[in-house]
Symmetry: C2
Subunit: 264 residues, 2 copies
Amino acid sequence: MGSRNTRPPRSLVSKTLDVLDAFSPEHPALTLSDISSRSGLPLTTTHRIVKDLTAWGALERNDDGRYHIGLHLWEVAALAPRGLGLREVALPYMEDLYGVTQENVQLAVRENVELVFVERLTGRHAVPVRTRVGGRFALHATGVGLVLLAFAPHDVQEQILASPLESWTEKTIADPEMLRRVLADVRRTGIAVSDRQVTMDAVSVAAPILGADDGVVAALSVVVHADDADPVALAPAVRTAARGISRALGSPSARRRPDSPIPR
Amino acid sequence: MGSRNTRPPRSLVSKTLDVLDAFSPEHPALTLSDISSRSGLPLTTTHRIVKDLTAWGALERNDDGRYHIGLHLWEVAALAPRGLGLREVALPYMEDLYGVTQENVQLAVRENVELVFVERLTGRHAVPVRTRVGGRFALHATGVGLVLLAFAPHDVQEQILASPLESWTEKTIADPEMLRRVLADVRRTGIAVSDRQVTMDAVSVAAPILGADDGVVAALSVVVHADDADPVALAPAVRTAARGISRALGSPSARRRPDSPIPR
């Protein structure tokens, strides 16, 4: 975490949130002193905050004395419209897509310059993917990421195009000009294909999900084995499911002409 | 919410958590003054806390000025082992069960004297159920609830048996002595059947999920239309899926003799 001594003074509310932020997928269970060092707070302050968080149910204490995120925080967080709210609407359509493909079906939203996976259905024989529900990833590599980036505000696009673009495979698009052309294609076709751009054994095909104001609020993808991937054949299924979710979210354009291109 | 003026003084940490608790499934989007009145906090305090919560991403502001639970809180809450953690392990087995039955498949954990639904898969033709992921329900009516209650600590059972038992249908078990006998049956057979005890059109069949110490950590059910329900036929499928999840969670007994009764 590095030293936080140079930070401006934090309010107790911010300190409380920093305690929650001490937990991560790599560090889901922490001792009091872990929390103290990871949040940059004195042990006494940490103890006081952790006590209140535990009483409320935001943290739970293991038998071994370590703390983890508690179920009550999860209950409250389930009210996030872009989290479980979106997922509840999308799930039946995702199940349809999973039923047809038996491969990974993913739902993601954009959070600033990254994406957050909101849901993933996966089969026992589906290709392994690098995602976790609630996890983050860069926008410029995955199918869902390319969709979310293609329809992101101009300043978000420019910020990403101006930054170094991390490569995961030799196929990852790390050249800003090529990425710009790919994004234009995604806007034109309403489909993004990530061909071995994250791992060499996976191809994903993604489509945008529109909200009540017809803006892009999320992206849906299917991730298949690269060996037998047929993006052209998968695209209509992904678009159909994405359209069903958009309609359920109240998108006016998803109620019109089923074969029209996805509007910008 | 009632008056909170008689409460002892709250710490700022508690006040912050009370702001989060102002949000509910019935009230997912609130104005500042809604939050103030629902949390019993002065408007100035509410404003200060909401500002910090919004900066961190625990709350997000709608275009209409109302606040809702934000995606960053959901990201952190996704680390709760009894929330999405459990769900990630259980999902493939739940999908197997859904594939076989095409009906509602539910996963729940106990939180004090209630249950919390952690996951639900549902088909388009499945019987409507009264549940929501992240939502709570009483323990004495649903299949998952009867399992969680049957294996709950003695004091939790006695507290519920001593309280008035709410009825949802004429079939709900509202008599404590009858409920006690049903719970003994659940412990003996390892299966709970809720026959029209929540709605007159639904039957659920549930089995316990065991954790690494062989204690019951969750319950799994399938909820089907009462008209064509065959609990005897469903029980093996539910037990098989519950056993698979238990094994994935490290339960020693789920690795032994597949046909042994579920241990207490």
